[in-house]
């Protein structure tokens, strides 16, 4: 196992977030059983007061989860020098079977967190807290994810075995026995292009539909999620090739490096922002039938849809631009 500060920090944060959420889930169970907005009992008063604490705790927990996602990737990137055959973050995530699942879980927790925060925000706008049970039920679903993430991440770091020279007289030449696969398997570019722009089109249509008719918010979220997945696949499949100007380098992380003008940030930031906005929009729009939330939904949902569309468009424009300005030509190869 490694003892680097970044790893210590990641494990520490996961542990603390898990603890916070376990604390919150105890409260969530209490709410599910005993919440009664019409009661004036001391218990109800305490529960209402405690919701403040829980939502503050969770805002921090999810914000930290986002930073820990970034730290996780940075850390993988910086450790690539310490493993035989690992050239960048992809290789380090491949070091054992826990790397990729941890990353996916972190992303999933981030998006679940945004949904929860959107729900929480909306709930606080209604005078009678109409979504309180839904909210805490959702929280109970997120808790196992966070605990699994803590477990997987710890396993991932514990089971890392660095290939290093142990002493001057030790055996110095270690043959690359297992071999770390450094490339991600990928779709053919043609499929990826169709999937990405196709899902983008569906997203735009459903978004416009929602803005015009106030219908289909959930569909918009669903398309948002699809667009996110196809976008990531496209980055791996062909966008990264154009950024690297290299026909075989598919890594989704190296584009974050300075050597490639930090192109990755211009893609990932709008993409993640747009997806979380789209998810939040769908979540909010679903509750428009509740009387105390009706007016809030009418105000916030279109705003979120609007913003999500803007950021998705920024992503598509930038992705197209990176491909367009590249010196790499693959026309005759891909047909």
């Amino acid at each position: 196992m490694f003892l680097s500060p970044a790893i210590l920090a990641l494990i520490l944060v996961s542990a603390v977030i898990s603890l916070m959420l376990i604390l919150a889930s105890g409260f969530a169970i209490q709410v599910l059983q005993k919440w009664n907005i019409n009661s004036g009992s001391e218990l109800q008063l305490n529960l209402e007061r405690r919701t403040y604490l829980i939502s503050t705790l969770l805002i921090w927990a999810f914000a930290s989860e986002l930073i820990s996602l970034m730290l996780f990737i940075y850390n993988a990137e910086s450790m690539s020098g310490q493993f035989v055959g690992a050239m960048c973050a992809t290789g380090v995530l491949n070091v054992n079977e826990w790397g990729w699942p941890t990353l996916f879980l972190k992303i999933a927790i981030f998006f679940s967190g945004t949904i929860w925060l959107a729900l929480n925000y909306l709930d606080n706008k209604g005078f009678d807290y109409p979504l309180v049970r839904v909210k805490y039920l959702l929280l109970l679903l997120i808790v196992p994810m966070v605990i699994t993430e803590f477990y997987m991440q710890t396993r991932y770091f514990m089971e890392m075995n660095p290939d290093v020279i142990t002493s001057c007289c030790g055996s110095l030449f270690s043959v690359d026995a297992k071999g770390v696969a450094s490339e991600v398997s990928s779709l053919t570019p043609r499929q990826a292009i169709i999937a990405m722009y196709g899902s983008g089109l569906l997203l735009m249509l459903s978004g416009t539909w929602y803005l015009l008719r106030n219908k289909g918010g959930l569909l918009f979220s669903l398309f948002g999620l699809t667009a996110f997945i196809t976008a990531i696949m496209s980055i791996i499949s062909y966008i990264s090739l154009y950024i690297y100007e290299h026909p075989h380098h598919h890594c989704p992380f190296c584009i974050l490096k300075s050597g490639h003008d930090y192109a990755g940030y211009t893609l990932y930031i709008p993409l993640f922002l747009a997806t979380s906005l789209a998810l939040a929009a769908g979540t909010i729009s679903y509750w428009k039938k509740i009387p105390s939330l009706n007016s809030s939904v009418a105000v916030y949902a279109p705003k979120l849809v609007y913003l999500a569309l803007i950021f998705f468009n920024i992503f598509y424009i930038l992705a197209t631009w990176w491909v367009w300005q590249s010196n790499l030509t693959m026309e005759s190869i891909w047909q």
Partner: protein
């Protein structure tokens, strides 16, 4: 939107004035907080720069070093091994090297003596590192003496190696191959080791593999392996220091918890009055949130700045010996400043994150208290 920002601006304004009203307490907290950031940041900046420095230096070293082993110990390698290796695809050059260590009992230090063949040195000339020149007090044109078995040899100092590469050249002595063989008694046709350059980094392992098959008594040392080892050693040392500092961190967390939960009567009255004049619990939470942000950010920036100055302008006097190692002829060098997102995010999780976690519950307790319960 603008309303939201305006509200936050007023809250910050209010928080600032309320912080300044309790100068003593808050400056105490700020001081401890800054110190914690300073310590952790110093360790990080310093060891990170060392790693970088090692990487930069090794960039110029040969891809493969071939050593001969006799009974598991490093031995001299005969020159015919270069022929024995034959033509290896991908290898651009093969060269025998002559180098070794020389102990000088007068200054109680080891020199690294090298005999490069590309320098135009006569047998009586020598080029020395800045560390040696400083320790013995030599300048260009002075005489530098080395004692071998029975004889003493004097060399005229032709040049002193520039300061900017001092991390590796501080104890270096460069002499001509002929003089080196005379002093050390290494016969013609023998070298210390052989170095190979390989153009394509992906072929390095294959070349090494072929070498081991051809010449079973050698051991190839790859540059990437050395780099990898440096990387993990510095990361590990840094980790050890961090683990040691966790005690301090815990003390800080308890301190922050205590500060946040032990609200003075005056603060309690303030919250009571605010709630009585119409503030909601959420507003109090916001205010306290800004209080935390202001203290954390100031401590973070002050601590980081101090650490930056400490590491890059005073060569990290406080941690030097732990992280760098120690030697008589130790190089004096200024590290290249280097900051990255990884460091900042890690530092955030070691300082601001524990602080926030420690203060959330006490702050919440303060914010939900009923005004009449306080002011009664």
């Amino acid at each position: 939107m603008i309303e939201f920002f305006r509200k936050q601006a007023y809250l910050i304004d209010f928080t600032m004035s309320s912080l300044l009203r309790r100068k003593g307490k808050n400056f105490g907290l700020l001081l401890v907080y800054t110190l914690i950031v300073f310590m952790l940041a110093s360790v990080m900046l310093f060891s990170h720069s060392l790693r970088k420095e090692a990487g930069i230096i090794l960039q110029q070293s040969p891809e493969i070093i071939v050593q001969r082993l006799v009974a598991g110990r490093h031995a001299l390698i005969p020159a015919e091994y270069i022929q024995k290796m034959g033509r290896l695809r991908g290898v651009t050059s093969k060269k025998g090297r002559l180098w070794g260590y020389f102990y000088n009992p007068v200054v109680k230090a080891n020199y690294t003596v090298m005999a490069p063949d590309h320098l135009d040195l006569s047998t009586t000339e020598v080029i020395i590192g800045a560390g040696i020149a400083r320790t013995i007090g030599l300048g260009i044109g002075d005489y530098f003496t080395m004692r071998s078995n029975n004889d003493t040899f004097s060399f005229q100092v032709k040049d002193i190696i520039e300061r900017n590469s001092e991390l590796v050249t501080t104890d270096l002595v460069l002499i001509s191959p002929k003089a080196y063989r005379v002093i050390t008694g290494i016969p013609e046709g023998q070298f210390t080791d052989i170095v190979l350059s390989v153009r394509n980094p992906r072929e390095v392992r294959k070349v090494a593999e072929k070498l081991v098959q051809k010449l079973p008594d050698i051991r190839p040392v790859l540059r990437e392996e050395i780099l990898r080892t440096y990387d993990s050693i510095f990361a590990w040392r840094q980790g050890i220091v961090f683990v040691l500092l966790i005690g301090a961190l815990l003390a800080f967390v308890i301190f922050a918890w205590d500060k946040a939960s032990g609200l003075s009567a005056e603060e309690k009255r303030e919250i009571g009055i605010l709630k009585a004049v119409g503030w909601e619990s959420a507003d109090i939470l916001h205010m306290k949130f800004w209080e935390g942000i202001i203290i954390s950010l100031s401590a973070f920036m002050l601590g980081y700045l101090a650490a930056y100055l400490h590491v890059f302008y005073s060569s990290a006097v406080l941690f030097e010996s732990v992280l760098k190692g120690w030697a008589t002829l130790y190089p004096q060098f200024k590290l290249v400043p280097f900051i990255d997102g990884l460091q900042i995010a890690t530092l955030f999780f070691f300082t601001i994150f524990p602080y926030v976690v420690a203060t959330i519950i006490p702050i919440w307790k303060a914010s939900v208290t009923d005004p009449d319960a306080i002011m009664r």
